[in-house]
């Protein structure tokens, strides 16, 4: 493999990883607050893909992007209200099962509404323009994805660490009842988590599907699972962890495909999960327990 092809694959991998990272953040944040693996998250990402298909056909793309993000946020919050909120005081397993149900519901709803045939994903001419840096060439989206990911993560981290709302989120993630005693409305904080997670999934979906060119009702399933693995790999509950996990999986996957092992690239991701859980169950950046009694 020449240096150019190596760098070319690196670029592709980093770009794919960026999209994964954005989705993985949604898993890790919801887990941080609710201790719930939101299995429907990958399907929210898929629905965002369909939203884009329909939005672009009736409006210019910059407006369509905004509409897709808003639509995905509404979907994410609605799912939380309908499927998770009523189970707030139930055992955790019940919410988990509800999440799995919601995942299948969305897949089947999409099949029913849009049929299982792949739909062409709209091309945004600007994002598809080919750029050349030295010997490397790629479409703009490949360059934009990692930059945008890093920017969004920086914004997100500063919201969480330096604003009042972020402080409330950190408090709620540790102790529901005491947060309530401070006057924090738990449900608002949870909704806010779903707003952020869904918005990032919408952005991730635009970046991901622009490179893939088609959407099916099952397009969210495998990327969803991989991003879940990314979140676990980085240490579920940790946002920087999810980002590192996302990039790691994106790069590994791309190189396996490049080396001719594309059949094994998905299996490798899950192998990584098993090895990680065996060696370091809390993940790379997993929560350290600082409680002192």
């Amino acid at each position: 493999m020449s240096l150019t092809t190596f760098l070319q694959h690196c670029l592709t991998g980093i770009s794919l990883g960026g999209a994964y990272a954005l989705i993985a953040i949604g898993y890790t944040m919801v887990y941080g607050i609710l201790r719930l693996i939101n299995f429907a998250h990958g399907d929210i990402f898929m629905m965002a893909g369909y939203f884009m298909v329909f939005a672009v056909s009736s409006m210019p793309w910059p407006i369509a992007i905004v509409v897709v993000i808003v639509g995905t946020i509404i979907l994410g919050v609605a799912i939380e209200r309908a499927a998770y909120k009523p189970l707030r005081s139930s055992p955790r397993m019940s919410i988990m099962i509800s999440a799995i149900g919601m995942s299948y519901f969305l897949q089947n709803l999409a099949t029913y509404l849009f049929s299982a045939l792949p739909r062409a994903y709209p091309e945004i001419p600007l994002l598809k323009r080919i750029f050349q840096i030295g010997d490397l060439s790629a479409s703009l989206v490949t360059f934009v994805t990692p930059v945008l990911t890093v920017l969004l993560v920086i914004v997100l981290m500063s919201i969480i660490n330096h604003t009042k709302a972020g402080m409330a989120m950190r408090a709620v993630s540790k102790d529901f009842e005491t947060s309530q005693l401070m006057g924090i409305k738990i449900n608002n904080v949870i909704s806010m988590t779903f707003v952020i997670g869904s918005a990032l999934a919408a952005v991730g979906s635009i970046l991901y599907f622009t490179d893939r060119m088609s959407v099916t009702p099952f397009s969210g399933a495998l990327p969803g699972l991989k991003c879940f693995v990314a979140a676990v790999l980085g240490g579920i509950g940790s946002i920087p962890g999810a980002v590192v996990g996302g990039f790691l999986i994106g790069i590994c996957e791309t190189f396996l495909v490049a080396l001719g092992y594309s059949t094994f690239s998905d299996a490798f991701t899950f192998l990584l999960l098993i090895v990680m859980l065996l060696l370091r169950p809390t993940g790379l950046f997993g929560e350290k327990i600082t409680d002192k009694v």
Binding site: K164, M167, A168, T178, S179, M182, G183, T290
Partner: protein
């Protein structure tokens, strides 16, 4: 009109009657204490007042207004705060952030800054450690932080659930002198304690609770000298 009035309050926990209809009142400017053994329903009473558990009957009035089914957020806004049992500081927030989150419902930044300084003057240790994660503080420091955090809401009534639990005797003494000082600054105090002796000494009035009922009431002095209280809670016979 009493500041806080509880009438026939009942609470059920999954089929178990934790409170079987208790009534008591707290007048403005008093220190009132609820004493009783483990499982008597003292913590449940405070949690029902804050509405983090739902009551199964009875009513709660604060300054003449019924707050029985109000949101916790509104109750905090009315001026009632609870320092929960076991301190429950947010271990993943710094000391300063814990204080700020106590003022979550307030918007007067200048007032908040002033009150942070005030809490620091009550507890100089917190100022020294304001940048530390609260989870790394000692038990006594965490208790101070929990009290300081509650004061940040500018309460009119502060309720404390076992503030001396698990603390060294010297620290317990500190905590009680702080309670007195908060009271001197004009905050009404409702105190739950297993350390009945210390609690009754600083309290104007006290109520004795047994298995979900109030069984005895009187001034702090009266209860300290009451034969049955002395035997049951103060460990002194005769």
């Amino acid at each position: 009109m009493s500041m806080l009035e509880i009438k026939d309050l009942k609470v059920n926990y999954g089929g178990i009657e934790a409170l079987k209809g208790i009534s008591f009142r707290v007048e403005e400017g008093e220190i009132v204490t609820l004493i009783g053994a483990n499982g008597a329903g003292k913590s449940t009473t405070l949690r029902a007042i804050m509405r983090v558990v739902t009551s199964g009957g009875g009513s709660i009035f604060f300054e003449g207004e019924e707050i029985t089914s109000m949101d916790t957020q509104k109750i905090v806004n009315k001026g009632i705060v609870l320092v929960p049992e076991g301190r429950r500081v947010f271990p993943n927030l710094t000391v300063l952030e814990n204080l700020k989150i106590g003022a979550y419902l307030r918007a007067d930044q200048a007032g908040i800054d002033k009150d942070i300084e005030h809490v620091y003057s009550l507890f100089p240790r917190l100022k020294e450690r304001h940048w530390q994660m609260a989870g790394t503080l000692s038990g006594g420091e965490q208790q101070m932080l929990a009290v300081g955090r509650a004061l940040m809401a500018k309460p009119r009534l502060i309720m404390m659930d076992e503030p001396s639990l698990g603390l060294a005797p010297l620290v317990v003494k500190d905590i009680f002198s702080i309670i007195r000082r908060i009271h001197d600054e004009g905050v009404t105090v409702l105190l739950i304690e297993q350390n009945a002796n210390a609690a009754l000494k600083i309290a104007n009035r006290g109520y004795v609770m047994e298995t979900g009922r109030v069984t005895l009431t009187g001034t702090g002095e009266e209860l300290l000298n009451d034969q049955s209280v002395r035997e049951a809670y103060l460990g002194k016979s005769k």
